[in-house]
């Protein structure tokens, strides 16, 4: 796995009730955004991450459904977290607006989760399925993961775009399907490296045993850097 952005957590102020620190001086929860095209496996990744991390970390999830509460309900139905730890934000048909241009509703959701079920270690903010240009505002999340899949076409890393190029972690999901859809994983890895330079890429198959491990390891490393960062 490659190096991360040099300046991992630049100082941010989101004008909310809580700044970077809680009243007791500890750092607030790390906020990680997950974006990517429709159907690439964002919700499945969030569910798998919750299962992998919930025993050791205090977790919560914000979903940004496009027109339903289905993503939130999927997480509830699969009981990956207690219901009070999952909040759905409505996005007025513009999921990218809610995570980038006007982040106020998502900030409200994040802070309410901290208030009601905190203290939290990690909050996952899942974007509604959107297009290859969707990215999270740095005012909302501390790091972002972009999830694509092999079935969406193995030329997506080559095409680049803000999500593929700038995300802190690029996930290429559903590697188990590659032989059936004619996707060339080695080519995807080469193209991703050409677009992203030193930024990390994880190839995952969530149907495999512990398939989310590469992402969970990355999240754990980010969390360690977050808690160790100077106050």
């Amino acid at each position: 796995m490659h190096l991360d952005h040099a300046d991992t957590y630049p100082p941010r102020h989101t004008y909310g009730a809580t700044g970077l620190h809680r009243p007791d001086g500890t750092r607030r929860a790390l906020r990680i955004g997950l974006g990517g095209p429709v159907g690439s496996g964002k919700t499945a990744t969030v569910a798998a991450l919750c299962r992998a991390l919930r025993d050791r970390l205090s977790l919560a999830v914000v979903t940004n459904d496009i027109y339903t509460r289905e993503d939130a309900e999927f997480l509830l139905r699969n009981a990956v977290l207690p219901p009070e730890r999952i909040t759905a934000v409505e996005t007025g048909a513009c999921p990218h607006t809610a995570i980038r241009d006007d982040i106020s509703a998502n900030l409200e959701a994040v802070e309410e989760l901290e208030e009601t079920v905190g203290p939290l270690d990690l909050i996952l903010v899942e974007s509604g399925g959107d297009n290859l240009t969707a990215t999270f505002s740095k005012g909302l999340v501390d790091a972002q993961v972009f999830v694509i899949d092999v079935a969406g076409g193995d030329d997506i890393p080559r095409k680049g775009g803000p999500g593929v190029t700038t995300a802190d972690l690029l996930v290429v999901n559903k590697t188990d399907l590659a032989p059936y859809v004619g996707s060339d994983l080695a080519r995807m890895a080469r193209d991703a490296e050409a677009q992203r330079g030193e930024l990390p890429v994880a190839f995952t198959s969530l149907v495999a045993e512990d398939g989310v491990r590469p992402i969970a390891d990355w999240v754990n490393a980010r969390l360690a850097a977050w808690t160790a960062a100077p106050a």
């Binding site: 004008y15 027109y67 409505e90 007025g92 513009c94 241009d101 006007d102 106020s104 509703a105 409200e108």
Partner: protein, 263 residues
């Protein structure tokens, strides 16, 4: 933005100079200022009234989604009728509250007045949620002790028009400017939503807003006048126009499981 509704400013700033050319100097500046002649300029009002101001409005349709589903809004003409009705009811009430907050009336008393003017509990919840989101944006853009005080007194959010008026005040704007921001929002939100909901031609939707502009001026004049009276008579002098169908539809909309907009 001088209009027919603009009251003449003291000293009649519109009187031309003796040589027939337009008056120059401060009088001329006042002629081109918004109706209130407030210290804050039109620039601040444009920032505040911009649909891209990041205060959460993009996720709300102002009742348009329910009206579209019921078939009441289906084209540009029916959108115009919907927006006209909303402007003169919920829009007027919001404009009055915003103008009064900008004029310096106690925001907590105005928050109570807003509650009393919002019979739908779904719309009260929406107004407070949007008020809290606007408060966040307002404190970042125009920091002010008055905004801090209201945020501390209403941590779950005050009614959005009250926060809007106080934001205008923090930006140095006057009561009519606050009323303009509230009144315009009352029609621009549904128009934008209708473009997404009906795939309406965006030029037609914007033309609807342009046709409503003179009526927005009238609503602002009424709201500002009521706010002036409320300074002496209290919030009871503010408009309390309501639209029962908006209230009923909002209650129904809040129960839908599949929807594009939060309200």
């Amino acid at each position: 933005m001088p209009t027919n509704e603009t009251p003449p400013t003291p000293g009649d700033a519109r009187a031309p100079a003796a040589d027939g050319r337009p008056a120059d100097g401060p009088d001329r500046a006042r002629q081109w200022s918004p109706v209130g002649g407030a210290p804050g300029g039109v620039g601040a009002l444009l920032v505040l009234a911009d649909g891209r101001f990041p205060a959460g409005g993009h996720a709300h349709s102002g009742g348009a989604e329910a009206a579209v589903a019921a078939g009441r809004v289906h084209d540009a003409a029916s959108l115009e009728a919907f927006c006209r009705g909303r402007l003169h009811t919920a829009g007027l009430t919001a404009a009055g509250l915003a103008a009064a907050a900008a004029a310096g009336l106690d925001p907590l008393a105005l928050d109570d007045a807003a509650d009393a003017r919002t019979p739908s509990s779904a719309l009260r919840a929406t107004a407070r949620r949007l008020g809290r989101q606007l408060m966040r944006a307002a404190r970042a853009t125009w920091p002010s002790p008055e905004l801090d005080a209201l945020a501390a007194a209403r941590p779950r959010g005050a009614h959005q028009p009250v926060v809007l008026g106080l934001t205008a005040r923090a930006a140095g704007l006057g009561p009519p400017d606050a009323a303009y921001a509230a009144g315009y929002e009352a029609v621009s939100g549904p128009a934008t939503a209708a473009v997404r909901l009906l795939s309406l031609d965006p030029f037609d939707a914007t033309a609807v807003l342009a046709r409503l502009a003179p009526e927005l001026d009238q609503v602002v004049a009424r709201a500002a006048d009521a706010a002036r009276r409320a300074l002496d008579e209290g919030p009871g002098a503010l408009p309390a126009a309501s639209a029962p169908l908006l209230d009923i539809a909002a209650e129904q909309h809040a129960t839908w499981s599949v929807r594009l907009f939060a309200s």
